[in-house]
């Protein structure tokens, strides 16, 4: 066992720069996951603190609904956060697959392989968690600039405290290790399987288990959180949960249909390849953009609110509430886009590394590098527009009969929504572009001997 653990650093260096790059990406993804989770939980705590110690009459009257709304934001972001963490763990494992399979063939026991991977992935998770805490510290002053309840949440109110940080420092590496071990099961079960690059069917029950544990955890936390309108929150969460489950079941299927349409219409090699890639694994595409589905829809609904309430000629309190609702929805949407961007970067890096030999040989045979870049852009942009922008658009269109001309006379909410969507889409595209050096490096390699 010791000997195997001693091998770990050599396995890492043997991978050269692309192992460094994937390790870096995995750590970055863990860091973003940690920082945004802490921020979201911090925001929730902030609103709870306000509800407990109101500083104005408005807060006395309205602080409690804010807590529910914050809970909704947490739930909306929970799934994309967990998904990104899982993707990071898988990426960290991916590059070592081949070498670990070789170790297995050399007679290292399955248990040792698991331990080795678990240790490495947990180390990445820990590094990411620490970096994420720093990032959270940097972000706190930024969040405190966002106006809520006619004032701002202070850094102190959004600080999760030492216990919060400690939980993150333990939970992130732990989840990383579990996730890494699960994705390594295939190496352990069949070394030849990985050596031949055959991926067995995915384990549906693992996801179910994760979901159940997540919900259970959530219920424990909410009970511990003081049972604030527990019934209402429970119903809300159940609704959101059903919405998520439905979306997750339907989303990949819709993306598959969309891919079929693209394939049928494809005239250029890039369009053809992008459609085929999407059709090949719509679930992978969904993992990147799925989190935007509900966040986009909720943001779309709430973006319409300011115009509606203006029309009704409402009180100052109502207007403040509506403004805050819009702000909160946009903030949730922006965070969902950040998560999608990091997911997209991680997914693209994994895809390039999975196909390194094929891409390098295609390039040797004269396929221009630009083709692969264009395929990547199309592959991400299509689902992004369909799910991220589409869900917001559906919400706006759905509410447009209520909205009438108010959307034109009072376009603030819609403009804000449009700005968030454009910025979010650009951010995701930038993340895809950031893996360009990795692709360039893969395409430049002539060393295309069998692994």
């Amino acid at each position: 066992m010791r000997a195997v653990l001693a091998l770990a650093p050599r396995l890492r260096t043997a991978g050269g720069s692309d192992t460094r790059l994937t390790t870096g990406l995995a750590v970055l993804a863990f860091a973003v996951t940690t920082a945004l989770t802490l921020s979201v939980v911090g925001g929730l705590r902030g609103f709870m603190a306000r509800a407990a110690n109101p500083t104005s009459q408005y807060e006395v009257d309205y602080a409690e609904p804010y807590v529910w709304l914050a809970w909704i934001a947490v739930v909306l972001l929970l799934v994309p956060l967990v998904t990104l963490g899982g993707a990071a763990a898988r990426l960290g494992v991916a590059r070592r697959d081949a070498r670990l399979a070789t170790l297995r063939l050399l007679g290292v026991t399955p248990r040792e392989v698991v331990v080795l991977t678990v240790v490495e992935t947990a180390a990445q998770g820990l590094a990411g968690a620490v970096a994420g805490m720093v990032l959270y510290g940097v972000l706190l002053p930024v969040w405190s600039l966002v106006p809520f309840m006619g004032s701002h949440l202070t850094v102190g109110e959004m600080w999760v405290g030492a216990p919060g940080l400690l939980v993150a420092a333990v939970a992130v590496p732990l989840l990383a290790a579990v996730s890494g071990a699960v994705s390594l099961r295939r190496v352990v079960v069949s070394p030849l399987g990985v050596a031949r690059r055959q991926t067995p069917r995915r384990l549906g029950w693992v996801r179910l288990l994760v979901a159940v544990v997540g919900v259970g955890l959530f219920m424990v936390v909410s009970v511990a959180g003081g049972g604030l309108g527990a019934a209402v929150i429970g119903v809300l969460i159940a609704c959101l949960g059903i919405a998520f489950a439905t979306l997750n079941a339907v989303g990949p299927w819709v993306l598959g249909l969309y891919a079929r349409l693209l394939l049928w219409r494809a005239r250029t090699p890039a369009r053809l390849l992008a459609a085929r890639r999407l059709l090949d694994d719509p679930r992978a595409a969904w993992r990147v953009v799925g989190g935007l589905g509900l966040a986009g829809f909720v943001a779309g609904c709430l973006a319409v609110l300011p115009a509606l309430t203006m029309e009704a000629g409402s009180s100052a309190e109502d207007r403040l509430m509506v403004d805050d609702l819009t702000t909160g929805a946009m903030l949730t949407l922006v965070i969902a886009f950040v998560l999608a961007a990091v997911s997209a970067g991680v997914a693209q890096a994994s895809a390039v590394l999975d196909r390194r030999r094929e891409y390098a040989l295609q390039h040797l045979a004269g396929v221009p590098a630009e083709l692969f870049h264009e395929v990547r852009r199309r592959e991400v942009l299509g689902p992004l527009l369909l799910v991220g922008v589409g869900s917001a658009a559906v919400a706006v269109v759905m509410l447009s009969p209520l909205l009438g001309f108010a959307g034109v006379t009072n376009p603030r909410g819609l403009l804000l929504l449009g700005g968030c969507l454009v910025g979010g889409v650009l951010l995701v595209l930038a993340a895809v572009e950031s893996t360009r050096p990795l692709l360039r490096q893969v395409l430049a390699s002539r060393d295309v001997r069998p692994d």
Partner: protein, 262 residues
């Protein structure tokens, strides 16, 4: 000019329709740091001829192929294709050269796993500007010609090693290349399947009027070619030309008793 080659139109064995000389290299030198992989190689290959490049591991065979094929830029020397200097073109032009004038068959793993066989074959034709419908039609014809009827819609993962190599041969030939380069094309196959792939590779390349350069360790594979050079320490140390090409000898030698397409 070069759009798609039609599998049916075989210009005959010698392909005398091509003008001037075929592929020619003079004084090729290539170094990797302090290693001299090529130390001054001369080579001539007429249109429609096939050449096997043999030699021990590390002798510079792949480096030679990469320099001839516009993948590597040699440190010294020249490569001309039909009289045109091609070694020192810039990156974009070399990529274009490979796409328009060359075809490639590698050991394995050159097919994109997401694309069905027919689209893998059609892709280079589409890259050269053929519309999708026409490229797909030509790809279908090539697959049928190479004995892969009924496998058009299979993914590379659903093909045997030999079948995948035949798809790769179709992919290399669909653009109507001047030269086909193959680096250990049978390296991942058993002997019978390898012989079958070599038969198809040499026959179809000759029929299409393209030259063929095959890098191999295997004397049996080399016997399918009309000419053979021996590379050692970056130099050509032997050149054998089979004056009266008689494929039957090699065929009897290699595929006797194995028959069939597997």
């Amino acid at each position: 000019m070069h759009t798609t080659g039609t599998p049916g139109a075989a210009p005959g064995a010698a392909a005398p329709t091509r003008t001037s000389d075929g592929l020619r290299a003079r004084g090729l030198v290539h170094r990797f740091g302090s290693t001299t992989a090529l130390a001054g190689v001369d080579l001539d290959l007429a249109p429609g001829r096939s050449l096997a490049v043999m030699g021990p591991s590390g002798s510079g065979k792949s480096t030679l192929l990469h320099c001839l094929a516009g993948i590597l830029v040699p440190d010294d020397g020249s490569v001309t294709l039909r009289g045109r200097e091609v070694a020192r073109l810039d990156e974009r032009e070399r990529s274009l050269l490979r796409r328009r004038h060359y075809g490639f068959v590698f050991q394995f793993g050159q097919l994109l796993p997401e694309l069905p066989a027919v689209e893998n074959v059609a892709l280079p034709a589409m890259l050269n500007g053929a519309p999708r419908a026409r490229a797909t039609e030509h790809a279908r014809q090539w697959l049928v010609r190479l004995g892969l009827a009924g496998m058009e819609e299979r993914r590379p993962g659903e093909l045997s090693g030999g079948q995948a190599q035949r798809v790769a041969v179709a992919r290399a030939l669909i653009t109507g290349p001047d030269v086909v380069f193959a680096d250990e094309p049978t390296g991942a196959l058993d002997q019978a399947t390898g012989a079958n792939v070599m038969r198809i590779l040499t026959e179809t390349t000759r029929a299409a009027g393209a030259s063929l350069v095959v890098v191999t360790h295997d004397k049996g594979v080399a016997d399918w070619c009309e000419e053979r050079i021996e590379v050692r320490d970056g130099l050509v140390v032997g050149h054998h030309v089979r004056e009266s090409w008689d494929g039957a000898a090699a065929r009897a030698d290699l595929s006797a008793g194995h028959g069939g397409l597997r």
